[in-house]
Symmetry: C2
Subunit: 101 residues, 2 copies
DNA sequence: AATATATATCGACTTTTTCCGATATTCCTA
DNA sequence: TAGGAATATCGGAAAAAGTCGATATATATT
């Protein structure tokens, strides 16, 4: 985990918002299915984009930033890319701040 | 605590370094005294600046950023301003990431 | 193969951040 | 009260990030 990359990724309102949405997809994405099923892949870019109200390119870029920071994972399935939170990184970050930072 | 302000403050190599130095002042600042005494005020700007190898103005500004984020506190005493970590904010941030983010 | 849909990447422009030198402020001491 | 030392603030140049529209790529459908 690249500390600084993670902090930079978290230094943006929209990206924080996206992470919050992805924490409770069934709450924030009406069309979201399979939230509680193991095969759940996440939320696709289009839905996130609509909710964010920014252009497709911007949201795609933001998701790439979050992914490079390890905060989300991406799964391509058909024409869609599904993003979901990577809770492991959040846990690592929390511990890092509590003890190493 | 302003989330984004904190994350922005942590998105810089030098500032992270300063926080690390302030965690163990007796280790990183040879001239540092009173480390384990209650009246310890912190480390003054000049020492931090020397170690950082950046200009006085830049380091002063960085310390102000850390202070506004609540990550350090400043105490003026005579012509010196002493900075030290505000562990409370680190703890809050760690918890926030663990549960709310 | 042609077209449509979802996403990613590119190029450009604007805003923010980084970092500097110069100057101002504050406080100490002669 | 004048000068010196420590720190803060200001103004600017360069680099990075934010954001867009246009285009490219990948996949699905006909």
């Amino acid at each position: 985990m690249e500390q600084i990359e993670v902090f930079k990724a978290l230094s943006n309102k929209t990206r924080l918002q996206i992470l919050a949405w992805l924490k409770e997809p069934e709450k924030f994405f009406p069309d979201y299915k399979f939230a509680n099923e193991p095969e759940c892949l996440g939320v696709c870019v289009g839905h996130i984009q609509q909710k964010a109200g920014l252009t497709q390119s911007t949201v795609s870029e933001y998701l790439a930033i979050l992914q490079r920071a390890g905060l989300v994972t991406a799964t391509r399935s058909g024409q869609w890319t599904y993003y979901k939170r990577n809770e492991e990184t959040f846990a690592l970050l929390s511990n890092l701040i509590a003890s190493d930072l």
